[in-house]
């Protein structure tokens, strides 16, 4: 693989690296620093990449290792001082889904790291369970159980644990409280 082919491969993966880095770190600014470090390391170690294997999985491994060794602590500090990207980031999707997306990101940021990363990898990046297991250095069964726990926790955080029962009940309970306080107010 020539240097220019390798470069083109890296360029194609930048959007995915940014999305994964943002999901890990919770900050777009940290995400871009992380992507830059990842690109530099990838370039310096290009001879270690085996052509024919997944460049995305290889780059995600570098990015993830870099995050856990250098960025994790910084991520928490940035979140503490600036709030998570969920609250600040401009969205590029349609306006209608904007609020839902912000809520979802806040919930996602509350998941334990080990659950969040696998949920993103399996649910959004197009990586297989096998690739995800390899990137994280754990068994496939562990990935499956983390994904399950992540989904359950998200549903809980977003109050969609049981769409049919809980949702309407909570809404009406809240409505009744409002009515109650209005009555008391009178």
């Amino acid at each position: 693989m020539s240097a220019s082919e390798f470069k083109d491969g890296l360029i194609k993966e930048i959007p995915n690296l940014r999305a994964f880095a943002a999901s890990l770190s919770g900050s777009m600014q940290l995400a871009d620093d992380l992507v830059q470090d990842t690109l530099l390391k990838a370039w310096g170690n290009s001879e270690k990449f085996e052509p024919g294997t997944s460049l995305r999985a290889w780059l995600f491994t570098i990015l993830r290792n870099t995050y856990y060794s250098l960025y994790r602590k910084r991520g928490r500090e940035v979140q503490d001082s600036e709030g998570t990207y969920a609250e600040r980031m401009a969205t590029h999707g349609n306006q209608e889904s904007h609020l839902d997306l912000a809520d979802f990101r806040k919930a996602l940021a509350k998941l334990p790291e080990e659950q969040r990363e696998v949920l993103i990898m399996v649910g959004a990046t197009g990586l297989s369970y096998e690739e995800t297991a390899e990137i994280c250095g754990v068994a496939i069964g562990t990935i499956k159980s983390r994904v399950n726990r992540a989904r359950t926790k998200l549903a809980e955080l977003l109050s969609i644990g049981s769409l049919d029962d809980l949702g309407p009940d909570r809404k009406s309970a809240a409505a009744m409280q409002r009515v109650g306080s209005e009555i008391v107010g009178l």
Binding site: A3, I14, P15, S97, L119, I160, L163
Partner: protein
Amino acid sequence: MSDADTAMDDSDGGESELMLDPKVQESIGRSLKAHYDDIVNAPVPDKFLVLLAQLEATEHRAVGAFPDERK
């Protein structure tokens, strides 16, 4: 039903795909994609392309400086 589900969750038995309503899973899946694709579809900052162009140029210069290594 919810008691049994909670028990399964706590036991952490691995294969417990039935814990969540499929509709809930679907909704979470859609939100995950929306979150991720939103960033994937955002414009890529120029600095990354500049960085890679610089790295490539440095490599070319290095090869040029040691013509013997070109073979």
